[in-house]
Symmetry: C2
Subunit: 165 residues, 2 copies
């Protein structure tokens, strides 16, 4: 029950890219520098987001990343699944059927009750994340943190963002 550090990096990266004008891109190097993380490692996850259709990448000089759709259409679940994969955390191995004294499989009509309960809880988790967009998070964050933080990110974007030719 542990999420990789790449999840947080991906989410913050998308949050940063949200402040970018539509016809601009921000290179991964600038994102890594802004958050003080390893560039190579961040690229790994940005590429995953790009493959999932969340980000658009522009190669070459003056290239970079930008959002593929508005931030109010990007949910935390989208980012989580893109980085960590789509499989559920709990996977039923059907150990109830193993062992020496098996009975016929037809007796096990329904799925394992434990598995059902675990997956049901996990769906609640995913539903909650699916209802929260990056735009929601940013709106709440700015409200509670005040304007200084937002000003800092805007300044950084202005300094490192690049408009597409």
């Amino acid at each position: 029950m542990k999420l990789g550090e790449g999840v947080e990096q991906a989410m913050h990266s998308v949050a940063l890219l949200s402040d970018l004008s539509e016809d601009s891109v921000l290179p991964a190097k600038a994102i890594a520098s802004f958050y003080g993380t390893s560039l190579s490692y961040l690229l790994k996850h940005l590429q995953a987001l790009s493959a999932a259709g969340i980000l658009t990448s522009v190669p070459g000089p003056r290239g970079g990343y930008k959002l593929a759709r508005p931030s109010n259409k990007i949910t935390l679940l989208d980012l989580l699944l893109a980085v960590e994969g789509h499989s559920y955390a709990f996977r039923c191995r059907e150990i109830r059927r193993r062992g020496p004294s098996q009975i016929d499989s037809s007796f096990y009509t329904a799925q394992c009750g434990i598995s059902a309960a675990m997956l049901s809880a996990e769906r609640l988790y995913r539903d909650a994340l699916a209802k929260t967009t990056i735009a929601d998070v940013l709106a709440q964050s700015e409200e509670s943190n005040g304007p200084a933080v937002a000003a800092r990110t805007c300044a950084y974007i202005a300094a490192h963002g690049r408009s597409l030719g």
Copy 2:
């Protein structure tokens, strides 16, 4: 985002022990054999459950494990935390504060919005598991699977359970 296989083993083990009379114990060897799992590996998790106060262990010959409290007082969350640890899956590293252009920490009054949203979803997950007891799962499972499965476990318990002297 992956749960260890020990979680499933622990939960099924507790489910099996639920069918045991109060003054009896079941050795780990019998549980491992029933589920076809490795004894040594199962012991690791049964010990974790014992340390968490969910199971009671009786050493020596005719020893074994039994529930420390009734199965309707044991929730899936208890088992999950005992096996996987109490820390949350998402851990905020505060990468928003790192990087070259830090501003004073006092500006970051509230916690990170992303962290808040992730932890909030995870609490929903935990709440759902905290509301589900092993007794609930067994009741539902017996209802959907029919009596043959329950009969098998009862027979196994009768053959391998040991009453305390």
